[in-house]
């Protein structure tokens, strides 16, 4: 980038240093190599997967399971050998190989348990256990090797396991969507994850993990709340409406504290959806014929208000900010 500096602004001799820097600095292939590596892992896994699937008659289940176990063990052994000592804080980055090996091992372990369950029904009808057990291992691995990607896999696994336990079979089989059990499960899961996030933050236990927890908690509980608002009847609508509002207020505080624009955006979006739903419903209940024009009016005014809020957010947030954005904490 050739920036046009007015003459005299740069200190004496600085221009020469900069020119020298541009001439001499190396050209980094870091991202390209990483992308190639990632694609390679992806291709190899899917290619081997299809190969196994197609030749299962000739290879035999035991052989395949053995091979998967061996590969998983090799991955974990590599990670264990290259692991840094455990720390409560964020571990320093090591080679990206160990990271990829951990990811590969975790994925292979998932394949292993899935294989066991589908072929031999080791866990019987208890699909939740088949999901929950690997998730527990993932959770341990995530903390031991300090890997946020694996942590996210663990959280997803737990959510799926608990979702299966609490959701009535009818909701899945008959596609019944007015069931409230998933809504309450989502809210409970969100609350639990929020507590986990708060604990890791306040107890200073892997503090950088709190983002993943709070992120999952936000999306789960907000989507559950809005679903409850839509499918609820009578007083439930009011309850969920207030709940989404309260969650939004909480998120707003959290975003302010963490100085995070990401949480701020989603807090506003979710609350806007819930508020618009409530407002438009009342509007169309009151007068269906004139409702359309009023709805357009509502959208114009509410969006203008939100835009005003976004534009003057700095005064609301009272944060000194650069043009590039707020500093990450």
């Amino acid at each position: 980038m050739k920036a046009a500096f007015p003459p005299g602004i740069l200190p004496e001799g600085q221009q020469e240093r900069i020119d020298h820097h541009y001439r001499s600095r190396p050209f980094s292939l870091f991202w390209e190599m990483r992308a190639i590596l990632y694609l390679g892992v992806l291709f190899l896994c899917s290619g081997l997967g299809i190969l196994i699937y197609k030749n299962i008659d000739t290879i035999g289940h035991q052989t395949i399971l053995g091979a998967i176990v061996a590969a998983t063990a090799a991955c974990f052994w590599y990670c264990a050998r290259h692991a840094k000592p455990f720390t409560y804080a964020q571990a320093a980055a090591d080679s990206s190989w160990a990271e990829y090996m951990l990811l590969l091992g975790v994925l292979l372990f998932g394949v292993f348990t899935g294989y066991l369950q589908v072929k031999y029904s080791v866990f019987g009808d208890d699909h939740a256990l088949a999901l929950g057990l690997p998730a527990t291992l993932y959770l341990f691995l995530a903390y031991r090797f300090d890997h946020r990607g694996v942590l996210q896999l663990a959280i997803s696994g737990f959510c799926a396991a608990i979702g299966i336990v609490t959701t009535p079979l009818a909701a899945i089989q008959e596609n019944v969507f007015d069931h409230h059990a998933p809504v309450w499960t989502g809210l409970a899961m969100g609350a639990a994850l929020a507590v986990a996030g708060a604990l890791s933050e306040l107890r200073d236990f892997k503090r950088h993990f709190s983002f993943s927890y709070i992120n999952f908690a936000m999306h789960l509980s907000m989507i559950a709340g809005i679903t409850g608002l839509v499918i609820g009847k009578g007083w439930e609508k009011w309850f969920f409406f207030l709940l989404v509002g309260a969650l939004g207020a909480g998120l707003w505080k959290y975003a302010r504290w963490k100085r995070s624009h990401y949480f701020l955006l989603f807090a506003v979006l979710y609350v806007y959806v819930a508020f618009s739903y409530g407002f438009l419903r009342l509007l169309f209940l009151a007068d269906a014929s004139a409702g359309v024009s009023f709805a357009f009016f509502y959208f114009i005014l509410s969006c203008a208000g939100t835009i005003y809020f976004f534009l003057n957010m700095k005064t609301f947030l009272k944060a000194e900010s650069e043009d590039a954005g707020l500093p990450e904490k």
Binding site: M1, K2, A3, A4, F5, P11, R17, I18, H21, R25, P26, F27, S28, L29, F30, W31, M33, I36, L37, L39, G40, L42, F43, L44, S46, G47, L48, I50, L51, K54, A91, A93, S96, D146, H147, R148, G149, Q152, H261, Y262, L264, L265, V268, L269, V292, S293, F296, F297, F299, I300, C303, A304, I307, F310, L311, D323, A324, G325, L326, E328
Partner: protein, 394 residues
């Protein structure tokens, strides 16, 4: 031509350069901070997430205003009234965009002015189509005209997304024109596409090198990347064969190949190599990425017509080959060689997104890239150009 003050763009570039130099250690931090103090941020450019929010709510707001006028009966009277309403709306939105830009601290990549601008262009082009009653099929004159409008807007507002759209509409117009010209056009079209793209790529390179055109740097980069891709597509065996079949109904059977097939095969496999080599030798990330993308397409092309391996064996082998390539590359360039390094380039990542956005996107990498420093302590990185010009996020 440019809606913004050119000096503002220079300040923006100077600030970015200062930050980069401070990161690279060419300039010491206090000096950089003191210099940054002297050059205040020229634009109102919010954080990426606020930009997304502003874009969403700006779009809803404009759409609702349009809907309100339509419902109130202005647009429902006749065809002409609707067209005129679209044009009026385009004018109103353009005025809004200009007002946002003529401020003391102009809106730039702020989401709001982008939403209004895209809305205005949509209304303008739709209004013209409605008024000219060209609603049967998009013929090449109107597409070409729309492309010109988009290109003008891209230049005026330094918007690379619009530039990419203009490029796409120019090619659509070209195809449309040639498909109506009969068989002979089938032979000219590849040559036309290749030569046009090559000229465009060359011209964009000139635009990047020319100091007077520096304010459209991102536009030239995106256009150049697209031109490299379309240049390849113009001579790719798969594209030629399938397009010839589709547009010109050339009957190609297994034993009857397309004319000049060896030449197209050579082009299909030669150009990715040439791009990659040029990228590595000239240290040009644009060429390097174009080379990698087109190489993948070349493999796909070969695989499509020649059954050498089953899909799964091919995948597994390709995976092994890629992992081996990455392994060798990481080993070879662990220390600096030929001016190349495998160490992290911070600018390549940070230039596009700020730290929080990046943390959001790196689902797999658990550690911050910045923690991995190169063995020499030197952090390299050329002009960071990652996305193929999705929305001018730069």
């Amino acid at each position: 031509m440019l809606a913004y003050r050119k000096s503002d763009f220079d300040s923006l570039g100077a600030r970015a350069a200062l930050r980069e130099w401070a990161e690279d250690g060419v300039i010491d931090a206090p000096t950089a901070a003191a210099l940054l103090e002297k050059i205040p941020p020229p634009f109102h450019t919010p954080n990426l997430f606020i930009r997304i929010g502003l874009f969403i709510f700006g779009s809803i707001c404009a759409a609702a205003a349009f809907g309100l006028f339509f419902v109130m009966g202005v647009g429902m009277r006749s065809h002409q009234a609707f067209g005129v309403m679209l044009l009026v709306f385009a004018a109103v939105l353009t005025v809004a965009v200009e007002m946002l830009i003529r401020k003391e601290k102009p809106f730039f990549r702020a989401g709001l002015e982008e939403a209004f601008l895209y809305g205005a262009l949509l209304c303008l082009i739709a209004g013209l189509i409605v008024l000219l009653e060209m609603n049967s099929r998009l013929r090449f004159p109107i597409v070409l005209f729309a492309g010109c409008i988009l290109a003008a807007a891209a230049l005026r507002y330094a918007d690379s997304f619009l530039a990419a759209l203009a490029w796409a509409s120019a090619f659509y117009a070209l195809f449309d024109l040639c498909s109506g010209l009969g068989d002979r056009a089938g032979y000219i079209l590849p040559l036309l596409v290749i030569s046009l793209s090559a000229c465009a790529a060359y011209a964009c390179g000139g635009g990047l090198a020319k100091a007077a055109l520096r304010h459209w740097e991102h536009v030239w980069q995106v256009l150049r990347f697209l031109a490299l891709l379309t240049c390849y597509a113009g001579g790719n065996y798969f594209v030629i064969r399938e397009l010839g079949h589709m547009l010109f109904h050339q009957s190609v059977t297994v034993d009857r190949d397309i004319p000049f097939a060896p030449a197209f095969y050579a082009f299909t496999f030669g150009l990715p190599l040439a791009y990659t080599a040029a990228g590595l030798v000239k240290k040009d990330r644009l060429f390097l990425h174009a080379g990698l993308v087109t190489a993948a397409f070349a493999v796909f092309t070969y695989k499509y017509y020649h059954h050498v391996l089953s899909v799964e064996a091919g995948l597994a082998l390709a995976g092994i080959f890629l992992i081996a390539t990455a392994w060798i590359g990481l080993r070879l360039f662990r220390t600096r060689r030929f001016g190349l390094t495998a160490a992290a380039s911070e600018k390549g990542a940070k230039g596009i997104l700020d730290a929080e956005s990046l943390a959001m996107l790196q689902g797999f990498a658990s550690k911050d890239i910045s923690a991995q420093s190169s063995p020499e302590g030197l952090k390299g990185g050329g002009g960071g150009f990652g996305g193929g010009g999705a929305d001018g996020t730069f």
